[in-house]
């Protein structure tokens, strides 16, 4: 015996309900893997402050100290932001995707630390803004490859900014650093915060 056909309204409501469920699950799963958007906005703001404090001269120790301090502050904001976001999503910070992000992110960052020391000692400080942006972009791109699309896209934009900084060495480095670490973090952080749960 054939099953009685349900009312069309019920099917429609059920389809809507299913779509909502898919969306909720995707949002939850996506926000779980994505970097913290609000943390990104905050990192961007501290980068703008650092660019203003450090100024355009890339060859002196004060400039390097300001940006190293900014890197540590940004790292702490990033870890804290990710921890808060993971907790809100009910997921452990270093679960599968979290570990993968760190594993993809760390190698390029370690390379950045080594290159920074070598280039600064060699008196090639003017290369540092481009190298930092390029390697940070590579780190975000590879770390966020398995995350929502906006994360690797952010990495690619950082790489483009780094390439531009290395091509136009005559331009003041702080402009690229402010646009990259400041502007791109704020832009993509806002997108992530709005679309991927904070």
């Amino acid at each position: 015996m054939a099953l009685p056909r349900p009312e069309p309204v019920e099917i429609h409501a059920h389809a809507m309900d299913n779509l909502r469920y898919i969306r909720r699950t995707i949002e939850r799963a996506g926000s779980f893997t994505a970097v913290p958007g609000l943390g990104g906005v905050l990192m961007g703001s501290t980068a703008l402050a650092a660019a203003w404090i450090a100024g355009p001269r890339t060859a002196n120790l004060r400039w390097l100290t300001v940006w190293l301090a900014e890197a540590i502050v940004a790292l702490l904001i990033g870890i804290l932001g990710a921890a808060v976001k993971s907790r809100r999503a009910g997921m452990p910070l270093l679960s599968g995707p979290g570990r993968k992000f760190v594993a993809g992110f760390a190698p390029a960052m370690i390379a950045g630390v080594v290159l920074s020391a070598v280039l600064f000692r060699a008196g090639l400080g003017e290369l540092l803004p481009g190298v930092w942006l390029l390697l940070y972009g590579a780190a975000v791109l590879s770390g966020g490859w398995a995350s929502v699309r906006v994360v690797p896209m952010m990495g690619a934009c950082f790489m483009a900014a780094g390439t531009a900084a290395l091509i136009w060495l005559s331009a003041p480095g702080d402009v690229f650093l402010a646009a990259g670490f400041g502007g791109l973090h704020i832009l993509f952080g806002t997108i992530i915060a709005i679309r991927y749960g904070g």
């Binding site: 699950t25 679960s95 490859w145």
Partner: protein, 118 residues
């Protein structure tokens, strides 16, 4: 959370309106938890068993049963390994699984579109 069949789900017809080309509903992923597994994997390269369990708020047994069905259908890949001495199970969406989810989404949208036209 147990994956209990609900009345609405059982009452759904298998064929959808002509507007969508009368494709058949993929019963395999019509089940809530299996739909959740595919949705979560669609935005993650891989997820571990524990990630999925927490994300979908379900039990070990329930997740295991439904994930196996998806694996048997070729919609997800399951990789078992050890992290130290702790066993680890990772799931990945296959191309067939992604297509199935996309078809299912099209199907639901077609249903909604067809009902709105009436």
């Amino acid at each position: 959370m147990a994956a209990k069949p609900n009345k609405k789900q059982l009452a759904l017809p298998i064929a959808i309106p002509a507007a969508s080309g009368a494709q058949k509903l993929d019963r395999l992923i019509h089940e809530r938890l299996r739909l959740g597994i595919l949705s979560a994997l669609s935005v993650n390269e891989t997820l571990t068993f524990n990630d999925l369990k927490k994300l979908l708020d379900t039990t070990d047994g329930n997740l295991s049963v439904h994930a196996r069905k998806l694996e048997e259908a070729g919609y997800v890949l399951c990789q078992k390994s050890f992290e130290g001495r702790v066993p680890k199970t990772q799931y990945k969406l296959t191309a067939a699984g992604r297509r199935a989810l996309e078809r299912y989404l099209d199907h639901m949208e077609a249903l909604i579109g067809a009902m709105r036209q009436k």
